[in-house]
Symmetry: C2
Subunit: 353 residues, 2 copies
């Protein structure tokens, strides 16, 4: 078991989804967070929804008293680059012999200064996003017996991983074992396995996804719940979305939508209305292996309850599908609504050649 010191200077409250995910869902303990802007508070004081009383400190040096085993890079900045002013803190952690766990695109172990410090102080570096060698997509996933659900989105960073984890917990509460398939760095840190599909060479991204689903199937769960990435009309990340859509060969989709988004994050590209988005995902699946959207998990974060309820009603009306905000209202209702559809959707074999 790791004891995490989480590095998120200036960003812990607002822009540290990796940190929040690991604190909320990971099995490893967080002993302290580094963010000088919030030093002196606790995690729970800053983010009441996180079940964690760890202190927030001003530096790695100040966090060492809490006995961490590992420094976790707590954010996933656009492009995956390590901010220059964080380097000194990473070096401090390595010099203290801490393992450094990073989900950045930049491979810290390939950085000469980090590599030298890691070697000198016998401190391991785990670059979570470093992809393994994977084969091309083969179609073996079409033989998976367990009903497979894939989260798709109306944008990046809308809560796809959270929704899949909460639904897996709801399944467990109902006595069903759903295997969570991590496809991004935070999911990998939480589950301790997986592949960051966005980091795989484009030709091999569906193959990497297929391997993950096969690995999950080999553990013999009742369901397979695959973390989604991006959105099908994201100008930069849609290829990763499509790699998951074809590589996981799901039997059903769950549309995760932040109701507040009007444009794709960082671009002026409009976010698609639910029905258009559902049609696009289903049309693409139909060309390879049919899968329908079984329900909508809405992200209404920051809205008052009555507005959230209105948005849920609106989604139900527009789509005639189950819809809920499972973070606000709990995951059981949505799980119960979509589970029968999972039972009905048996994986389709490929047609005879």
């Amino acid at each position: 078991m790791r004891r995490y010191l989480i590095l998120a200077p200036g960003q812990f409250a607002d822009d540290a989804k990796t940190a929040h995910g690991v604190i909320r869902y990971g099995s490893d303990e967080t002993v302290a967070v580094v963010d000088p802007a919030l030093a002196g508070k606790t995690v729970r004081e800053v983010l009441p929804h996180l079940p964690c009383s760890a202190p927030i400190v001003s530096s790695v040096a100040a966090g060492l008293q809490y006995g961490p085993t590992s420094l976790l890079i707590g954010t996933a900045p656009i492009g995956g680059k390590l901010p220059a002013h964080w380097r000194a803190e990473v070096i401090a952690a390595l010099r203290a012999g801490l393992e450094v766990v990073s989900g950045l695109h930049d491979m810290l172990a390939d950085d000469p200064e980090f590599a030298a410090a890691a070697f000198e102080h016998n401190a391991p570096i785990w670059d979570v996003r470093k992809p393994p060698d994977v084969p091309l997509f083969s179609g073996a996933v079409y033989g998976v017996k367990q009903p497979t659900l894939l989260a798709v989105g109306n944008d990046c960073s809308v809560g796809k991983m959270t929704v899949v984890l909460e639904l897996a917990r709801a399944a467990a509460d109902r006595g069903r074992r759903a295997e969570f398939v991590p496809t991004g760095q935070t999911g990998i840190m939480i589950a301790g396995w997986g592949v960051s599909i966005d980091r795989v060479i484009a030709d091999f991204a569906p193959g990497a996804t297929e391997q993950l689903v096969l690995e999950a199937a080999a553990r013999n769960p009742e369901y397979i719940f695959v973390e989604g990435q991006g959105s099908i009309n994201h100008p930069a990340y849609a290829p990763v979305t499509l790699a998951l859509l074809f590589g996981a060969a799901p039997d059903a989709l769950l549309l995760v939508a932040d109701v507040k988004r009007t444009a794709i994050g960082g671009f002026n590209t409009p976010v698609l209305p639910y029905r258009e988005l559902i049609s696009l995902y289903e049309t693409l699946c139909a060309t390879v292996k049919p899968a329908r959207v079984a329900g909508l998990a809405l992200n209404t974060y920051g809205l008052p309850d009555d507005r959230a309820r209105y948005e849920i009603e609106r989604a139900r009306n527009e789509t005639a599908l189950p819809a809920d905000d499972i973070v606000r209202f709990g995951a059981h209702a949505l799980y119960d609504a979509i589970a029968p559809q999972l039972h009905r959707r048996r994986p389709l074999a490929e047609p005879p050649a």
Copy 2:
């Protein structure tokens, strides 16, 4: 200028599209081809459509008498791996001081034996598929002024590169300069620049495509013609197709379709009918930047002329779009049919934020 010895043992006649493309469209000379099964013949005797009288020889050693400067790996096997029995021939070339040019997924320069031989004999290795560091997609491509045409397909290996090169020649014949944008290994070998988009990390594939179009635009051509890859319903390669579709931000699409395909190569996934395929490509473009299919370039290779004419008529009837087989009947008619549509399609700027 290079003088190529092309390595394609046992595969030159049937399965060496890299070799055929470089011989047909490249500005470098091919002095000999290595294929023991065809040794003693000339290229033209085996493949009458190729404008090349180079001899076919049994080994690299036998080809050295023709004064090559470079050994070209002449095929692109599935998965991009170098067949084991070709290794000795690559070593022979390096020991003779030849440059080795490879479009394989395997980076030959990273192979310890090849790297050692290259170093010892001062023989360079050009791994064409090795991607440069590229930024994420930014949207800068939306500011490109030149009308941009992207080839899309009904499958892999249907002739997208050939069609784009032939149309660029037809444009030149009409006094218009169209810049060819290479996105795969053969195109790069022919044009001497470009990026093999299938080899780029998935998150960066649209950004890499955007950089190529910006580079082409900076040369100030009248049109930009982008080589396509894969097909939007290819289970393994569709993410690359989508990276080009969003990353190149084309103003018009050209659908390249092998009329004989019924299933995606290597899979049982059905090839989509023209109208369904056109609708899917146009629907995806419409979510980011609208582009319509301007015409169809059909691959009727191997069919008798009357059957080819029937297939062209069928495509015109089904789609109400210009259609032709430009390899069989010449590129000018199709170019003339689509060029006015290119003029009409000015690049769209992003809407105000």
